[in-house]
Amino acid sequence: MKRCIIIGKPNAGKTLFALSFAAYLGANPLHLMFRHPQNNTTSWKTFHREEAIQELTSSKPHHTRNLQQLVVPLPARKGAKRIQLIDTSGLVEGIPEQKDIRRAMAQTLAAVRDAHLILHIIDASRVKAAGAVEALGEVDYQVAQFGQLRDGYLILANKIDLPEAKEGLDIITREFAGHQIVPISALYQQGFKVVKQFVQRRI
């Protein structure tokens, strides 16, 4: 089973995208496996989509501090295939002070290393927000360079439903010229069709 990892800055909308995309592909209820970086343990929980979004997402950064994996079906040309969707904690610039966040970072990168597909989420509405955790930074450029080594690497310019995102999308397009970029809204499932096709073609 191919591993598809979702990474990006804190509060870029990774978890919402993961849950929403899984539901879009027809997974309901969602069986999530949580991998805790603190003690290397795992736990399982089953949610309905609404519950999951309520419990696992937040409008504040650093809500996700562990890996959340779920297996989703993916209709393929011959029968259905499955992929592992891995939601991660946000990547922070510099060296985080909190040990928990650093550990979560290391866990995320370990998963990035082992992933086949990388979906890189950038908050298009906050690209230029100086000092904000969501703003474009060195980590994003490094992710893009790393992504080229994988089977598939796709940039998702999220929150495209917000009016500020238009300009942000232009900046992303300019900064990441040569990479495939899809504008999406995780909240309204915009652009999901393209993402689905991208993933389908690579499994």
Partner: protein, 324 residues
Amino acid sequence: MGDRVHPANHDEVLRFLSEGKLSTADALRLLRQTRTAGVAAKEKAAPPPVNPEALRQTLAQLNLLVGLNEVKGLVREVLAFVEIQNRRRQEGLNTEPTVLHMIFKGNPGTGKTTVARILGKILHEMALLPKGHLVEVERADLVGEYIGHTALKTREQVRKALGGILFIDEAYSLARGGEKDFGKEAIDTLVKAMEDHKDQFILILAGYRLEMEYFLQTNPGLRSRFPIHIEFIDYTLDELLQIAELFIAERQYKLSPGAKAKLLRILQTRISRSEANFGNARLVRNILEKAIRQQAVRLVNVSRPTREELMLITAQDLEGRGTQ
């Protein structure tokens, strides 16, 4: 920041990241640039690193050989293969076993031994052979006179060649004489040695093209054990002259125009008279060595030969007296 720490592998990158010694961006960059986990330990056990300077020189030596373009191409191919397999191994990817036993086909004097010797050096410098020396043997060195003697003699030669190349000239002669011949026993012993001492030596079977092909046909098991076949084509007249000039220049002699013309004539007659197995650098060498001695005889009675005279080989030095 990331420049101050030098993690050896991925696991270390991740550890440094969680210990706060690396920023996230640096960790990502290092993940891209360093090797996968576990490799560091394996690498330490690997043979000493190759000596790029020595390797470069040996390759230059190979390229200096006249002609042999096909051979040089094949050697480059083998080297590239070996190099990439090594790097794949370092990255933890599946590798093809590097079986480098070879068959050299060609007439005498077409460079088989010379190439084998240089190949040994190259593989040694690439850390593929611990010693890289060449043990050159023929039938008489392998085949014994009584039952059991052959295996003993053959094993002894293999033992000498461990860490280098065992080069069997006119290897097809091991198959002559039919079933009862001890040559068969030598072949069996060699095949067993190839299994027992995998990766410890390289076996090269050399000989005339047709005989070698017949030899491989009659011993079908052998063919699959020798993935590399190199054909040594006879030198052209042009190449033979180049070889002559190189040989002469290396020894700080010169050929006079007359001598060149005469050498050309000699080689032409030899080729047309052919001698299916002409095409022979050794013959050129013999002619020239004789000419050098002849020149000495000519000059020894000259009271004070000039520097120029000491260097010059004239037509009359070639092939003895006055075949002009």
